[in-house]
């Protein structure tokens, strides 16, 4: 436990010094928010709510997906390749403790990103919700980010491919899932594709909460399905690495 908490603390220190994290992972959704709100006007009605509210959820989701893939996934790959993960296994920090520290770090960063985007939306576009709505949306986006942590782990196991694969997944999943352009504005083929992406089912419940609706079981089921797929993929990759490694 001591080792896990220590590692968590130093992971956060390292992230706070990471320019890439602030410029890309946190900066991109904030900038996109300003740009796209000004294009359409925040008062536009969409899916039972306002564009300024709807797109706030889109960008919070985009930020969380980005940090799971870029911060967790790419960093994990780098730490494995540099021999660091192997070295840590000789210390009292167990593999399990290392995984827990990584998940705690990811949850902290996700919460930070969600709150940042919400604050930006609140102060720039006067987005205001009831206390209960703020709380449910925050909790959903926070806990619902776990499938993307699993995706981050999967990407972290792909070695040299992690950086390009991560960037590709980040952009493609965000675009197809309707985080940039709402799927209502896309052709029907794209809408059908969107309904299979984890990104769509991650943001969808939060959009519904904005419209005064409740979270649907179907969203949770699809996300669980993707989580399972990412975990199975990770285990398969790990097996392949274990049998290949010669030392």
């Amino acid at each position: 436990m001591r080792a896990t908490l220590t590692y968590w603390k130093y992971e956060l220190i390292r992230t706070l010094r990471d320019r890439r994290f602030f410029l890309l992972t946190l900066g991109m959704p904030v900038i996109f928010y300003f740009v796209f709100i000004n294009q359409q006007g925040g008062a536009l009605r969409i899916a039972g709510t306002f564009w300024s509210h709807y797109f706030m959820v889109s960008m919070a989701s985009f930020g969380v997906v980005g940090s799971s893939i870029n911060t967790l996934g790419v960093r994990l790959a780098a730490e494995r390749q540099s021999g660091w993960v192997r070295y840590l296994r000789t210390t009292p920090l167990s593999s399990f403790g290392y995984a827990i520290a990584k998940i705690l770090t990811q949850l902290t960063l996700s919460l930070l990103i969600i709150l940042c985007i919400f604050l930006v939306a609140h102060f720039s576009q006067n987005v205001s919700l009831s206390g209960g709505e703020w709380l449910t949306i925050t909790l959903w986006l926070w806990i619902g980010s776990l499938p993307f942590a699993a995706l981050g782990v999967f990407i972290g196991l792909t070695g040299n491919a992690a950086q390009p694969l991560g960037t590709l997944m980040y952009l493609v999943a965000s675009m197809l899932g309707g985080l940039w352009t709402p799927i209502q504005a896309l052709p029907s083929v794209m809408q059908t594709i969107a309904k299979w992406t984890p990104t769509y089912h991650y943001a969808h419940p939060a959009w519904r909460i904005l419209a005064g609706q409740s979270i649907q079981a179907s969203d949770i089921l699809v996300l669980l399905g993707w989580t399972l797929l990412f975990l199975i993929g990770s285990v398969a990759l790990q097996r392949r690495i274990d049998t290949k490694v010669q030392m």
């Binding site: 130093y10 220190i13 390292r14 540099s82 000789t90 009292p92 490694v245 010669q246």
Partner: protein, 299 residues
């Protein structure tokens, strides 16, 4: 309870390659063992199994009479591995402090900085250190938890002569405190200086296991050198029992022998025409070269 490491009939196979073959080995507390062998002899794999990084294909490996993977046994060891780079965006001091946070009773940070000679570099970003300083940082990390046992895999690679000296001094004072050392190295001088037991591996098996002195005696032999007078009979010299090789440079003769005492007696009692006699012990390097060459032939 004083057995630190125990390997019983351990084998490790990667695909079709047999890295370690029915190895049995035990190490008591307070000893310092140097594991030597040519590249690919199975040293790193053996260490990896002792540390719980790799599972043996068959056989049993114990660390402190328990599972080498357990976190409690890792609280009592410190490790330097090869080819590890530390994560970015932490200073030397922070990296050390992070490691200290893993252990129940860590050594003070300033002490670790001083032991590794990194006090002046404590604010440098750890990832930017040069090769030699990076090794020294890893030595500080290995000592962070005040370990009972140190595992050092090629610790001085990349260090300059002065850092090497300081490093050896620190390891020796660690050993004087009654602690245990498991060392792999290519530097035979280092092995000779730090270890009280030498284990030589080749092709995945232990081919010699003894104190450095007896390995040197047994496999390195001795040399007796002298200046030869005009009456010396080189043919007879070569035929003497115990003489394995004779080299001459001008009048200076160097004779290699397994038994320098007997050879000297013969030379003196038979009043050979020689003067300025010197006896040298064969180095560990000599012994090592012979050992691994013999092992290679028998394979």
């Amino acid at each position: 309870m004083s057995t630190v490491i125990e390997m019983e009939n351990v084998s490790k196979v990667f695909g079709k390659k047999r890295a370690v073959h029915s190895m049995s080995f035990a190490m008591e507390r307070g000893h310092s063992v140097a594991l030597l062998g040519p590249n690919g002899a199975g040293k790193t794999t053996s260490i990896a199994m002792m540390l719980g990084l790799t599972k043996p294909t068959s056989g049993r490996v114990c660390l402190f009479s328990g599972d080498p993977k357990s976190a409690t046994s890792h609280e009592r060891i410190g490790v330097m591995l090869q080819e590890v780079s530390v994560p970015p965006r932490l200073s030397v001091r922070e990296t050390i402090d992070m490691f200290r946070g893993f252990y129940p009773k860590p050594l003070p940070t300033d002490r670790l900085l001083q032991v590794s000679g990194l006090t002046e570099d404590q604010k440098t970003m750890a990832q930017k250190l040069s090769g030699g300083k990076m090794r020294r940082l890893q030595f500080a990390l290995a000592l962070a938890g005040d370990p009972d046992v140190l595992f050092l895999d090629e610790p001085t690679v990349g260090m300059d002569v002065a850092s090497r000296r300081t490093f050896w001094d620190e390891v020796r004072s660690f050993l004087r405190a009654g602690k245990t050392l498991m060392l792999t190295t290519h530097d035979l001088q280092e092995a000779d200086m730090l270890a009280d037991r030498i284990v030589v591996m080749q092709n995945g098996a232990v081919i010699a296991d003894a104190p450095p002195e007896s390995i040197k005696m047994q496999f390195g032999g001795r040399t007796v050198s002298f200046v030869a007078g005009p009456d010396i009979d080189f043919e007879r010299l070569r035929m003497l029992p115990d003489v394995t090789d004779v080299q001459t440079v001008g009048r200076q003769v160097t004779v290699r022998t397994q038994n320098s005492d007997a050879l000297l007696k013969t030379l003196i009692l038979e009043a050979w025409d020689i003067r300025d006699i010197q006896v040298h012990g064969g180095g560990l390097e000599d012994a090592f070269v012979r050992l691994t060459a013999e092992g290679g032939e028998s394979q």
